[in-house]
């Protein structure tokens, strides 16, 4: 038990973060067949929102509210100005979003410096769970992230926007024939993905080194999630996050974390050989 519970909770921390980060990536990929290499930068933007809010005297909770709005607005603006022009060509989308990612990183370095930023979590301390002490903040993170994930699922299943979105993922042509405004759906889905990633950035910031380059590691992991799980489906994201997050946590107990990531990549590539569209495609 002493080993099993921390392992389970550590896995859940990574899995719940991956759930909300990869959700945006998977939706954008499933909807528009566009790989958004700037997705990791929205995590960074979220974390830096926390830095700015706390530097201005605001609390963690304020940042948790502000960051998704910042992510949504920046995401919407970038979609309208740049991304909407490149949907037809996946390679162009890769180059444009990668360019964006480099620019955002350097602008943050110029604005805030390259050294890690100082942020603080809402509460320290640890609690006892079945005889094991575990940081309270991580428990909050797991609960909050899972709640956000469930809210996103409800958004997809119960609202008009979700219906239009799912219809567009299945067949964007048929959906637009039926009167779904494809441009509007694309823009909103992209901005929603950005908002989710920014939220994840705030959640991550108290337990990670906040630098301009922090997004890239989560970008790579989210890719594995989408690759292994399958693009455009909530089930795929859940399956992918569980496999990647659980596996990486399990491996990092035995080997250095870089080797664990390398092994996860190897596994993702092997899975692709047999299921090129992922375990649970849309």
């Amino acid at each position: 038990m002493d080993v099993a519970i921390p392992f389970l909770l550590n896995s859940l921390t990574l899995i719940s973060i991956l759930l909300i980060v990869a959700m945006g990536l998977a939706i954008i990929f499933g909807l528009m067949n566009v790989i958004n290499l700037a997705h990791g930068e929205f995590i960074t933007i979220g974390a830096f929102t926390l830095v700015v809010v706390q530097a201005a005297g605001g609390s963690f909770w304020l940042a948790l509210l502000v960051a998704p709005v910042v992510g949504y607005v920046i995401g919407l603006a970038l979609e309208k100005i740049l991304i909407a022009r490149v949907y037809t060509n996946p390679l162009h989308a890769i180059l444009v979003t990668w360019g964006l990612s480099l620019i955002i990183q350097q602008v943050l370095v110029l604005g805030f410096g390259a050294s890690p930023q100082r942020v603080s979590g809402p509460f320290d301390g640890a609690v006892d769970i079945l005889g094991v002490t575990y940081p309270l903040y991580r428990l909050f993170l797991i609960g909050f992230a899972l709640a956000v994930f469930v809210a996103t699922i409800l958004l997809f299943k119960k609202t008009r926007f979700g219906l239009d979105l799912r219809a567009s993922i299945q067949s964007s042509e048929m959906a637009s024939v039926m009167g779904v405004n494809a441009d509007k759906i694309n823009a909103r889905a992209f901005a929603l993905g950005a908002a989710l990633a920014s939220l994840a950035g705030v959640l991550l910031a108290p337990m990670a080194a906040v630098t301009a380059y922090m997004g890239i590691n989560y970008l790579a992991r989210s890719f594995f999630v989408v690759l292994v799980g399958g693009a455009g489906s909530v089930g795929g994201v859940a399956a992918g996050s569980t496999i990647i997050g659980g596996l990486e946590t399990a491996l990092s107990y035995q080997v250095p974390s870089t080797v664990a990531q390398a092994l996860v990549l190897v596994l993702a590539i092997i899975i692709l050989r047999f299921r090129p569209t992922g375990i649970l495609p849309a």
């Binding site: 022009r85 390679l91 989308a93 444009v96 890239i216 590539i269 092997i270």
Partner: protein
């Protein structure tokens, strides 16, 4: 119908007419480069030698990306594997100096070739194409970089490895700028001319056909997955070769030789020269490298911003690549090549 089912592809007029100018430009460029040491020497020649090797690296990417239309975001992995293979083999084991460079070369190139073979097999035979291929190779570079930084007992970590001896074979050592310059130039010339010859022949046509419609080509009886895998492995092997020789010329390896930024830069070199043109990749390397020196001397942070802006401009303004864009300006209405797919 029976007349159409013919397994020998006839070299079309297109291939023949395209062959002449590109080989002409390649030969002209190589001649100018061969005469260069008559006019400059020392440090400047050394930096030109580095550009030649990076040009060889760009050529390797163009062989795969330009000819198959599948973008590899991980070519720095193979360049870095070549460099690190060479560095680790030559500095760590105390091998007889007579053979050390050859063993280092085989280690580096062998590493690049085997990693590309394994990764390429699982992806290309698994039907992974297009954007998926790009992001898996991107992740490959990311993780290779983390291993290069993290596994410091072997790779030297952040500071890398120093003391890689100059390349020597059968007792002859390529010491000094001029000797190593000609070594780099002859490797580049060999790879470039062979690549041009092959790509304008049957295999080039086959790759072009695969790029247009892989299913159709497979239906005609070609093993398209094998062709793509072979191209990928050859491309990665050349990248490894460039990396291994680069390490012997600079005398050290560092994690930025196996980093995402290098993977990004090599894409720019190829895109500026016009992807698929092969010679253009080398010319693009020359142009961008000069530009990079100027911009970096102004501000180190400016360079990534410049690369980022360049990608966006490339796609929005010159979606077919710079050369095609200029050609269009010069010859309005002329049929142009597809540069950036």
């Amino acid at each position: 119908m029976s007349a159409n089912i013919d397994h020998t592809p006839v070299p079309g007029k297109l291939a023949v007419s395209k062959l002449k100018p590109s080989i002409l430009i390649a030969v002209l460029m190589l001649t100018v480069l061969a005469a260069l040491p008559l006019f400059i020497d020392g440090y400047t020649l050394g930096s030109y030698r580095d550009i030649l090797l990076l040009g060889l690296f760009a050529l390797s990417l163009d062989i795969f990306w330009g000819r198959t239309g599948i973008l590899s975001f991980g070519h720095a992995t193979f360049f870095g594997l070549g460099a690190y293979g060479m560095a680790v083999a030559t500095t760590r084991f105390g091998i007889d100096p007579y053979w050390v460079s050859v063993i280092g070369l085989l280690t580096g190139v062998g590493l690049a070739a085997s990693v590309s073979l394994i990764v390429g097999y699982f992806m290309l035979y698994g039907g992974v194409r297009g954007a998926y291929f790009t992001i898996v190779t991107l992740a490959l570079t990311l993780i290779a970089n983390q291993i290069a930084v993290g596994w410091s007992s072997v790779t030297g970590g952040d500071s890398g490895l120093i003391g890689v001896p100059p390349f020597s074979i059968l007792g002859y050592s390529f010491v000094g700028p001029a000797a190593s310059y000609y070594l780099a130039l002859s490797l580049l010339a060999l790879c470039l001319l062979v690549a041009l010859k092959v790509m304008h022949g049957r295999i080039g046509l086959l790759l072009k056909a695969v790029q247009d419609n892989e299913l159709k080509v497979r239906t005609l009886g070609y093993r398209t997955q094998f062709v793509l895998l072979a191209t990928f492995v050859v491309s990665a092997t050349i990248a490894g070769l460039a990396g291994a020789i680069y390490a012997t010329c600079t005398g050290f390896v560092a994690p930025d030789m196996i980093a995402l930024l290098l993977s990004t830069e090599v894409i720019i070199w190829v895109a500026v020269g016009g992807s698929g043109t092969l010679t253009g990749a080398v010319i693009g390397t020359f142009i961008v490298w000069q530009l990079q020196q100027k911009i970096s001397s102004y501000s180190v942070a400016a360079w990534p911003i410049f690369i980022g802006s360049f990608f966006i401009l490339l796609v929005l303004l010159f979606p077919k690549g710079l050369p095609a864009f200029l050609m269009d300006k010069l010859r309005p209405g002329a049929k142009k090549e597809k540069a950036v797919q």
